[in-house]
Point group: C2
Chain length 219, copies 2
């Protein structure tokens, strides 16, 4: 893998590869900007390639593509480790191999391309880097009820209950309200709605899944 972008101002690329252990200025502020740009550009890719995916599904797919480990891997493919500027302590302890330092440098480099060449240059660069990974994503993923069930089973937790709460509207346009309830080991109830009971259940399962995943991600 190769960075196809050529910097007009190479000092931006150097700053992007300067870890905070090397002093100031360093890539920390750029990392903030790059992380946000990466999130937006990959969001757009998924929006295009997964026209049927729900918001929650796209959000999970993005987390699969854009996380510390995945970005560190991409940084290694770009051989950023060799070009990092590290303080002497990090150098001795092999900081150039550490996932978090590599991932941060990758994000900062995305910001550097933006600052140097503008959004379209940054977008094309990111799209190029992620193209194969996006193509490799599952096209049609399993429905939320199935995914929730598999997730709970993998954890050895009891399966959820679906409760019909009510329905409203005329017969030809009825809307169903369903709760999905997980009791153990933590109590989660989420409401879903849809034009059929099954769709309302899928909707509620999706909500529970995203709450479970949020809980998992938090420190």
């Amino acid at each position: 893998m190769e960075l196809t972008y050529h910097f007009r101002d190479p000092s931006l690329a150097i700053l992007a590869l300067t870890h905070r252990s090397a002093g100031k200025p360093n890539n920390e502020r750029m990392e903030f900007l790059g992380d946000a740009l990466l999130g937006a550009i990959v969001a757009e890719m998924l929006y295009e390639t997964h026209p049927k995916a729900s918001e929650g599904e796209m959000s999970r797919l993005r987390a699969q593509l854009v996380n510390g480990q995945a970005l560190a891997e991409m940084a290694r493919e770009l051989e950023l480790g060799d070009r990092l500027k590290l303080g002497s302590g990090e150098l001795k302890s092999g900081g150039f191999r550490r996932d978090s330092i590599l991932a941060d440098a990758f994000e900062a480099l995305v910001a550097a391309v933006y600052l140097d060449g503008g959004f379209e240059a940054c977008r094309q660069t990111v799209r190029g880097l992620f193209a194969d990974r996006v193509t490799a994503l599952p096209r049609s993923s399993k429905d939320p009820k199935t995914r929730l069930q598999e997730w709970l089973q993998a954890e050895g937790w009891p399966l959820p209950q679906y409760e019909l709460v009510g329905s409203e509207g005329e017969d030809h346009a009825r809307i169903f309200d369903v709760n999905c309830v997980v009791m153990e080991p933590m109590a989660i109830t989420a409401a879903g709605r849809g034009s059929s009971r099954r769709l309302a259940e899928q909707d509620a399962a999706e909500m529970v899944l995203s709450r479970l995943l949020d809980t998992r991600d938090s420190p």
Copy 2:
């Protein structure tokens, strides 16, 4: 406040204002894209206006500008509530006044501008909408040690301890390692480093602050 952007394809604006209670297609997928774009464009604004702010500080400032309540307020100023497309249930229960529905519509509208007019149009629109709010942000915020202390005092928690762990490097380029330790009501230790003991303490305090805030935000 007014949306200065005029849609070439008004159906995108209508879709952005269609809540899922009105059926499919609705604005949920657009909301995902809009949320990401908003994050990137506001990140860039803060990157420019707060050249001294750390990553953690910019991240907190952004959360102050881009959150459900703030976006709902902006949606109200744009009078989006009157133009929302809601299902009959949400209509009856006053969904057009609900923060989450309004904030989602605002985010979706940002995506609609992007899809209709491209990044530069979206960026200018968002910058116009956020300009006054960004200007109103505190310019030079307090240092992390002060903010951590104030935060802990506001909660009635004991103050943190700073421990010098060590230092390395030649005298003219010494790097200090410091731990910031919060014991109660939850134990948090974070490492910081810097070219002086004070800077290392600020760095460690910043880490503890962001972990405390992360904990607070999680469900």
